[in-house]
Symmetry: C2
Subunit: 282 residues, 2 copies
């Protein structure tokens, strides 16, 4: 964030039907996704803090989707930026350990690139998260645990009142515990255990920033999902650090609004977003 002077996370969601016509009609959809994503990386790396490929869109491009994913991860790393693999995995014991190795790219054969962080879902409690933390320790990686998500129905379970506060506040307390245990190997006092907190709920974002002082926040919901720069301001610490704000569709498919080349439109959208967020920092 400091080196790039950016808090923008560019989400890489290659949806075949939204790609520019010459890629949308390509016979090899996995190759088209790689071409699209590497074009986006080239165009936006200057304005971004990190990239976040979304597992679902690559898995949907079987049989070559995962090869495409790791090609994109590798390309983003070459651009010098960290990669968060958004896969929201969750399971227990040796199964969670297998997920962790797979999602970070620690494959038994054919490893090509490594993600810097992955997203995990906390519904199973500590048993579902600790195996990921062990792999983080081993490779210097990080996790972002879903705490309060950006979608309209996120409150159905996450907002339920409990004796210790809302469910998402209990999740936040667990994240803070895991973060504390993990120590602060990174820069600026943050641990390797981060949290996903949606930009679409600005009051909760402010409260959760306070509840998880050792966790970097990954903040989705900007742009296409409705949140603006003022909504994410409370996610940052006094130094303007501690959070990255994701936009996927608003950057990737900006060309559909502007009629420009998709790369030029994405670059402009990423630069605008970077500047809008930097302008609201303390």
């Amino acid at each position: 964030m400091k080196a790039a002077d950016s808090r923008v996370c560019v989400g890489l969601d290659p949806q075949p039907d939204l790609l520019p016509p010459h890629l949308r009609e390509a016979p090899d959809v996995a190759a088209a996704a790689v071409e699209f994503c590497t074009g986006i990386i080239d165009a936006t790396a200057e304005f971004a803090a990190c990239f976040k490929p979304q597992a679902a869109y690559f898995e949907a491009l079987a049989p070559d989707g995962l090869a495409a994913l790791w090609e994109v991860v590798s390309y983003a790393k070459t651009a010098g930026l960290p990669v968060i693999f958004d896969c929201k995995r969750n399971d227990i014991g040796s199964t969670a350990a297998a997920y962790a190795r797979a999602c970070f790219g620690l494959h038994r054969q054919g490893a090509t690139a490594q993600a810097d962080a992955v997203t995990v879902n906390p519904y199973l409690g500590s048993d579902g998260v600790r195996p990921f933390l062990e792999v983080c320790d081993e490779i210097g990686g990080g996790v972002f645990v879903l705490v309060k998500t950006s979608n309209p129905s996120s409150g159905e379970l996450q907002d339920l009142s409990t004796p210790g506060g809302r469910v998402y506040e209990t999740t936040a307390a667990l994240v803070n515990e895991w973060a504390h245990e993990a120590g602060r190997p990174g820069a600026c006092g943050y641990s390797s255990v981060g949290a996903v907190v949606g930009a679409t709920y600005p009051e909760q974002l402010a409260a959760l920033r306070g509840l998880m002082p050792e966790s970097i926040l990954l903040v989705p919901g900007y742009g296409a999902q409705g949140a603006a720069a003022r909504d994410v301001a409370a996610g940052f610490d006094a130094d303007g650090l501690g959070a990255v704000v994701n936009s996927s569709r608003g950057i990737l498919y900006a060309y559909r609004e502007t009629g420009q080349d998709y790369r030029a439109a994405a670059a402009e959208a990423a630069r605008t977003m970077r500047d809008e967020i930097n302008a609201v920092l303390h």
Copy 2:
């Protein structure tokens, strides 16, 4: 269940380090996983109601892991039994839709086999589940939503008290709502929306059977995780239907206890489990 007179779900978790020596030492681990799983399917199909490949173990075998997965799914379907793909996916909107298509095997290129049901995690609420239900409608598939999981820390979030009961009871109420909306296209009055409820919490299993009368339960925790036939009895309806009980390690790796060929040991473990469960049905 009726045709097979079995409530046994055989979990397919090919853990490279636990495979028989001739497969453990094979240079191609993905091919070894396929050989192991197809051997298990051959040996246990006679005693099983369904098979449940676990996504994590196949994803860990990149780059050929997912091809291995769909080969195993295809083989299980040829044996005439339904396949539950245990992937615990969760996301929203178009991302959830992409996951749903990927996990059921509805790939844009190279589709080979189709799963009959997939597991999903409910932390994001309805937005995370409904896109899966739309695909279920389209292909006659089903979902199993995590409600109360079998692991020791499952209570950290799932057992929290709320004004409407425990968190897992609210999840169960949501499952029941989704099940009701989905109707009962299947046999025996059950909907396409099932629930995962651990065998390791027998009292909750009994209560949850009552709260979700239209949902088939997928019950993990049998065998290696400590639950026995008497613990799962409350998961079944008066006709001895409405639940399948999973065992993975207890069947797959039975050979490590007995010294037999792995297929013979798995067959014996599956038959014993089938008979033990059938003996406690009403």
